[in-house]
C-alpha cells in the first residue's frame, strides 16, 4: 500500500481527520527497499541435538540411547548432520538455500535458568553481572531516525525484554483483535487524561496510533495456509505488516513448549513440524518481500547431551540457531562442531558453545542493515570475523516456488483456554442472591 492509497483508506474509514506525520515518512522507507528482522524465540530451551542431529558423532548415540534420531529417519543435510524427521518444511527451505543452521550457538557463559538465560540474551550480553536493563534490539532500533508507529512490534501480549528501552515498541497480541471500540469523544478524553501521567502516557498514545495505523493491515486477508497455532497466527500477522507497507523493521515472536524434561520425542515432533510449516507458509506468503526478510530462530540454551530416565532432557548449554529468509546464505550448517566426546563437553556434560549468539545478530546487522558500530548495541562487546551467514544486501536469490507441506496429524491432548467463557446454561441466580454479593455488610 502506498501513501496515496493509505490516505484514501483513512479518508474512507474516518481514521483520522488529517494524516499524521508518519504517513509522509512511508514514501522514504518504501523507496529504499527496507530490510526486516523477525526474531523468533523458542522459549524453554530447545533441544538442538534433536532439531539438527549430529549423526556423524558416535558419542551422540552413546549418550542418547532412547532419544537419538536414527540415521534411517533423519533428514540429511550433509555427511554429518540431519534434521529431525518431522522437519520436512525446514528441509524444503534448506534445500532451497533459504535456511541456514548455526550449531553449537548460545551464551559463552553457561546459564541454566530459563529466566536468567533469556534475560541475558535479550539484553545482548553474556552474563547478568552488568545488565543494562534494555534489550539489544531496542537499543538498535532506538538509534534509527524516523519510522512509523508499526516499526517495532511484538506479536504477543507484551513487549519482550529484547525490545525494552524502545518506548515505541508495540505489543499487538493478534492483529485482528487489536481494535478500539470507543467513540471519538471518549478517545479524546482518554488521551487527555493520560497526558496527566508521564509514565503511562506514551503507552496510551501508542494505543491510539497503533489502532489507526493497523486499519490497512487488518484489511489484508491472510495470504497462505498457516498452521492453526499461535505461531502460525503471529507469522501470518508479520506477513500482513510487511505486505501492507506499514514500515515494519523488527517483529518479536515467542513460541513455547520446548522445555522437554520428559517424553521428549512425543512432544518435540509436533513442535518442530509446527515451526517448519509456519516458516514455510510465511515464506510463500511474503513472495518477493522474502528477499529482504530475515527470520532468526533462537533459544535460551540447548539441553543436556545425556538423556534422563524420563525419556527427556534436562537443561544444558550449547544450542542451535536457524536463519531463514531470502537474505540467508542457506543450505549449509555453519559454526564449528566441538564434538560430544567427554573432553569436549562444557562442564563435562553439555554441548560447548562455539558461536556467540550475538555474532549471528551482529553479522546480520552488518550485512543487511549497514551497522558498523556494535558496542552501543551489545553493551561494549565486539564481534569476531564474519562467517558468511548472509548474502550481501542488494543480492536477492531468485525465488523458486516451494510446495506447501503435507499436514502432519500430530496427536495432542493439549488444552488451551477458550476465547470466551461458556457458562453452559449455569444459572447464577442463587449466587447473585448471596448476601456478600449484594454488597451488604459482610461481618
Amino acid at each position: 500500500m502506498n501513501r496515496r492509497e493509505l490516505l484514501k483508506w483513512m479518508a474512507i474509514s474516518g481514521a483520522a481527520a488529517s494524516a499524521p506525520g508518519w504517513v509522509w515518512a512511508m514514501d522514504a522507507s518504501e523507496g529504499s527497499h527496507p530490510e526486516r528482522l523477525i526474531v523468533l524465540f523458542l522459549r524453554g530451551g530447545a533441544d538442538g541435538l534433536s532439531l539438527c542431529a549430529p549423526l556423524g558423532d558416535s558419542a551422540y548415540f552413546d549418550r542418547r540411547p532412547a532419544l537419538a534420531i536414527r540415521e534411517a529417519d533423519g533428514l540429511p543435510l550433509d555427511a554429518f548432520f540431519a534434521l529431525h524427521p518431522s522437519a520436512g518444511s525446514l528441509k524444503t527451505l534448506y534445500d532451497a538455500q533459504e535456511l541456514g543452521v548455526v550449531h553449537a550457538a548460545g551464551l559463552f557463559t553457561a546459564e541454566r535458568s530459563h529466566f536468567e538465560a533469556q534475560a541475558v540474551m535479550e539484553q545482548g550480553i553474556d552474563s547478568l553481572d552488568a545488565a543494562p536493563g534494555e534489550g539489544w534490539l531496542g537499543r538498535y532500533l532506538a538509534s534509527l531516525n524516523g519510522g512509523t508507529p508499526l516499526q517495532a512490534v511484538a506479536l504477543d501480549k507484551a513487549v519482550p525484554l529484547s525490545m525494552a528501552g524502545l518506548g515505541s515498541a508495540l505489543a499487538l497480541g493478534a492483529i485482528d483483535d487489536f481494535s478500539l471500540a470507543l467513540d471519538a469523544r471518549t478517545r479524546l478524553a482518554l488521551a487527555d487524561l493520560y497526558r496527566l501521567d508521564p509514565l503511562l502516557d506514551p503507552t496510551a498514545q501508542a494505543v491510539f496510533d497503533a489502532a489507526g495505523a493497523l486499519g490497512p493491515v487488518q484489511a489484508l486477508p491472510i495470504g497462505a495456509d498457516y498452521p492453526p497455532s499461535p505461531l502460525g497466527t503471529a507469522l501470518a500477522d508479520a506477513a500482513r505488516l510487511i505486505k501492507s507497507g506499514s514500515g515494519l523493521k523488527a517483529a518479536a515472536i515467542n513460541t513455547g513448549g520446548w522445555d522437554t524434561h520428559e517424553s521428549q520425542n512425543d512432544e518435540i515432533a509436533g513442535l518442530i513440524a509446527g515451526l517448519g510449516d509456519a516458516l514455510l507458509a510465511f515464506r510463500n506468503d511474503l513472495g518477493e518481500e522474502w528477499a529482504r526478510t530475515t527470520v532468526v530462530v533462537q533459544t535460551e540454551f540447548g539441553r543436556r547431551v545425556a538423556e534422563n530416565a524420563s525419556a527427556g532432557t534436562d537443561h544444558g548449554h550449547g544450542g542451535v540457531m536457524f536463519l531463514a529468509g531470502g537474505t540467508v546464505n542457506g543450505g549449509q550448517v555453519h559454526g564449528d562442531w566441538p564434538g560430544l566426546h567427554d573432553s569436549a563437553l562444557s562442564d563435562g556434560q553439555d554441548l560447548t558453545v562455539t558461536t556467540d549468539y550475538r555474532q549471528v545478530f551482529a553479522e546480520l546487522l552488518a550485512t543487511r542493515f549497514g551497522v558498523t558500530d556494535f558496542a552501543p548495541i551489545f553493551n561494549g562487546w565486539q564481534p569476531g570475523p564474519w562467517q558468511g551467514l548472509f548474502l550481501p544486501a542488494g543480492e536477492a536469490a531468485a525465488l523458486p516456488a516451494l510446495g506447501a507441506p503435507a499436514r502432519l496429524a500430530v496427536p495432542t491432548e493439549a488444552w488451551t483456554p477458550p476465547a470466551s467463557l461458556d457458562l453452559g446454561g449455569l444459572s447464577l441466580d442463587r449466587l447473585a442472591a448471596v448476601r456478600s454479593i449484594r454488597s451488604e455488610s459482610v461481618r
Binding site: F115, L199, L200, R430
Partner: protein, 450 residues
C-alpha cells in the same frame, strides 16, 4: 481527605481486589489495624453464603479425586475442571469477603505456578487449588512448600513423578531452588541441583491423585546439598531438605521481596525487604505475621500507589467499584478482560508464574483492553450497577462528578482530571454524560494504579 482516610484507601486497594463504597465504610468503621486483623483470619469471616452457593452451582467443587477423575476422563468432560476452577476463581476474587485470602491464593498460585494446558494438568490443578493452596495460603510457608512438593499437580507439571535413581529428572529440583525458595542468586550451585534431584527420586503420584513415595525408585546414596550431608533414609531426606531450605535466609529474603513487590512496589526498598524477611525468619515463616509486619510498616502506610494494576486487578476493581450485581454478563466480561489482557487464571506457560512488574503489563495490547472494557462496562452494566442507577438522582455536573468520585475513585480524583471530565461532558445529556464519565474514570490513568 484526611491522612487516615488516605492510608485506609491505600490499604483496602492493596489487600482487596479494589476499594468501593461498601468496603470503605467497613474499613472506616474498623480502623487500619483491625481491618488487617479481620482479613488475616478468613475462617472467621462470614462469607454470606458464597462458598455454599458456589458448591451448589458447581458440583465438581465437592467431588473427591476419584469422582472428579470419572467425571473428566470417563465421561469425557475434558475441560470441566479448567472451566469450573476459572469460574470459581473469578467469582471469589470479585465477590468474596475474604479478600486478602483470595489475594494470597493468587500470590501462591503465581509463586508455585502450575500451567493448566491439558486435561491432566487441569484435573490436578483443580484439586491442588481446593485442597492445598486455599487451606494453606495464610499458614506457614514450610507447610505450603512440603505440601507442594507432594502435590500431584506440581509432581506432574515439573516431571518429578518420573524421577528415578537411574536417571534423576532435574526439573522440579531446579525450579524449587530457583523459584520457590532460595531465589536465583540464593547461593546454590549446579551440583546442589543435581543432589537435590537425587533426594527427590521416587517422589511420585499414585492414581488418581495422591502422593506416593516409591522406595524402589529412590536413590539410596548419600547426598550433599548446600554443604549439608543427607544420609540415605528415603522419604525423610526430602522432608529434611525442604525444612532446611524453608528456614534458609535466602528463602526469607526471596519471599519477602516477592510479597513487598506484590503489595507495595515493583522495586521495594531494601530496608522494607530486610524488615519483612526478619519477620518471616523470626516467626518460622508464619505468613500472617509476615504480612502484618509488611502492612503495619510506616513506610508502607505512607507509600503512594506505586503498583500498576495487573489485568485481573484492573477488571475486578472496576466491577467492584460499579458494585456490579453478579450475572452471566459480568462474569463473561471479566473473563474477556483477562483473556484479552493475557492473564487467565492458571494459564501462564512457564514455571515462574505471571509477572508482577509494570514493565510487563504496561503494553499497548494491555491498555487497549483497559480502554475497551471501561467503555463496555458502563454501557453493558447501566442497569446492573447501583452506582450507575442511583446516579440519575443528580442533575448538576458538579454533583455528578462528586458522586462518581466517591463511588469509583475513593482515593480521590485529581483537580486536572475533574476539569477534563467537565470539559468533555459539557455537551452531553445528563444521563449520557454520567455513563460516559464513569467509563472515562475507570479507563483513566489514575485508576490504573493501586
Amino acid at each position: 481527605m484526611s491522612a487516615a482516610t488516605t492510608e485506609l484507601v491505600r490499604l483496602v486497594d492493596r489487600i482487596t481486589y479494589g476499594a468501593n463504597r461498601g468496603w470503605m465504610r467497613l474499613a472506616e468503621s474498623m480502623g487500619y489495624e483491625a481491618f488487617i486483623d479481620w482479613q488475616l483470619e478468613p475462617d472467621r469471616i462470614d462469607d454470606g453464603g458464597l462458598e455454599s452457593a458456589l458448591l451448589e452451582l458447581l458440583p465438581t467443587l465437592s467431588m473427591d479425586a476419584a469422582a472428579l477423575a470419572r467425571h473428566i476422563f470417563e465421561e469425557q468432560n475434558f475441560g470441566a475442571a479448567q472451566r469450573d476452577l476459572t469460574i470459581a476463581t473469578l467469582i471469589r476474587q470479585i465477590y468474596s469477603p475474604r479478600q486478602l485470602h483470595e489475594r494470597m491464593v493468587e500470590f501462591w498460585s503465581d509463586h508455585f505456578n502450575v500451567t493448566m494446558n491439558s486435561a491432566a494438568t487441569g484435573y490436578f490443578k483443580f484439586l491442588e487449588d481446593r485442597d492445598l493452596m486455599r487451606p494453606l495460603a495464610l499458614g506457614r510457608f514450610e507447610d505450603l512448600l512440603q505440601a507442594d512438593a507432594r502435590s500431584p499437580a506440581m509432581l506432574f507439571y515439573l516431571d518429578n513423578y518420573l524421577s528415578t535413581a537411574d536417571g534423576p529428572n532435574e526439573n522440579y529440583a531446579r525450579e524449587m531452588l530457583e523459584l520457590h525458595t532460595l531465589g536465583v542468586d540464593g547461593g546454590y550451585t549446579e551440583d546442589d541441583i543435581k543432589e537435590t534431584a537425587r533426594v527427590f527420586t521416587g517422589w511420585t503420584i499414585r492414581q488418581p491423585a495422591s502422593f506416593f513415595f516409591a522406595a524402589g525408585l529412590h536413590d539410596y546414596g548419600t547426598k550433599t546439598v548446600l554443604g549439608q550431608r543427607f544420609a540415605p533414609s528415603g522419604l525423610s531426606e526430602g522432608e529434611a531438605l525442604l525444612s532446611m531450605i524453608a528456614a534458609h535466609e535466602s528463602t526469607a529474603r526471596h519471599i519477602a521481596t516477592k510479597l513487598c513487590r506484590r503489595f507495595v512496589d515493583d522495586w521495594p526498598e531494601p530496608a522494607l525487604v530486610d524488615k519483612v524477611a526478619q519477620a518471616f525468619s523470626d516467626s518460622d515463616g508464619d505468613i500472617r505475621i509476615t504480612l502484618k509486619a509488611l502492612l503495619m510498616d510506616a513506610s508502607v502506610r505512607a507509600r503512594l500507589p506505586m503498583k500498576l494494576k495487573r489485568p485481573n486487578e484492573f477488571s475486578a476493581a472496576a466491577l467492584r467499584a460499579l458494585e456490579a450485581e453478579l450475572d452471566a454478563a459480568v462474569l463473561t466480561s471479566h473473563y474477556d478482560s483477562l483473556s484479552a489482557g493475557g492473564q487467565l487464571p492458571f494459564t501462564w506457560p512457564a514455571p515462574n508464574g505471571y509477572p508482577d512488574q509494570r514493565g510487563y503489563w504496561q503494553s499497548t495490547n494491555g491498555f487497549l483492553m483497559r480502554f475497551n472494557q471501561a467503555a463496555r462496562w458502563t454501557d453493558a452494566l447501566a442497569d446492573r450497577s447501583p452506582v450507575l442507577r442511583e446516579a440519575a438522582r443528580f442533575a448538576s455536573l458538579d454533583d455528578q462528578i462528586d458522586y462518581l468520585e466517591q463511588a469509583l475513585r475513593p482515593s480521590g480524583l485529581s483537580g486536572e482530571a475533574r476539569a477534563l471530565l467537565k470539559r468533555y461532558s459539557r455537551r452531553l445529556s445528563p444521563e449520557g454524560r454520567l455513563q460516559a464519565m464513569a467509563g472515562w474514570i475507570l479507563g483513566s490513568a489514575e485508576t490504573q494504579w493501586r
